[in-house]
């Protein structure tokens, strides 16, 4: 695609429900990143996928968070039993990382509100 695509762009969910956030990186990009940004706060790294390598999940804030990347392309971030503190914008980014780290492109984010 032309850019990093994220869906949904906005999600309001009730506390305790599960949510899935999707990221479709730029075609051919092998690296994919998930970040979280709470209102007025900085960027919090969640997880990074590089090719088919197993990701380091230690950045995920709790065991309610999980992420996968199927076929080295689309990624899904799942939050189980959502809590109000999960409310944030979840940003996905991708880069080509061929011959060294390339420009990193961000999607527009998925705004999650837990009520």
């Amino acid at each position: 695609g032309a850019g990093v695509s994220q869906s949904p762009s906005n999600k309001v969910t009730e506390k305790g429900k599960d949510v899935e956030l999707r990221c479709d990186p730029i075609s051919g990009h092998t690296a994919l990143y998930w970040y979280r940004q709470s209102l007025g706060q900085g960027l919090e790294f969640l997880i990074y996928f590089q090719g088919n390598s197993a990701p380091d999940k230690s950045g995920l804030p709790s065991d309610r968070f999980s992420a996968e990347r199927t076929g080295g392309s689309v990624s899904t971030l799942t939050i189980q039993r959502t809590q109000q503190e999960d409310s944030a914008v979840y940003l996905c980014a991708s880069s080509s990382q061929t011959g060294g780290v390339d420009t990193i492109y961000f999607g527009e984010g998925s705004w999650l509100t837990v009520v």
């Binding site: 970040y35 900085g42 960027l43 919090e44 790294f45 990074y48 940003l91 780290v101 990193i104 961000f106």
Partner: protein, 109 residues
Amino acid sequence: QQPVQSPQAVILREGEDAVINCSSSKALYSVHWYRQKHGEAPVFLMILLKGGEQKGHDKISASFNEKKQQSSLYLTASQLSYSGTYFCGTEPNGNQFYFGTGTSLTVIP
């Protein structure tokens, strides 16, 4: 492991220069710089790799001192479009990234 940025906020007049610093307590593999405008996604500015030279992008450049585990972003002859929050991102290894708390930059006419 979160890097420390300074200053927290800066106000400039158009045409003035600014320096934003980013310090880490950990040895770094790379440093990234981003700019984010209110309500928008961050925009990647540049990355500096261990052993890499200083980089430039238009009138914005950056340096990376591996021994001091520091990076600085230099904004020269600032323009109104430079306003935003600048984040550094540090990579202590190949698998995790940590972002600073950000520096709010406001350029006024």
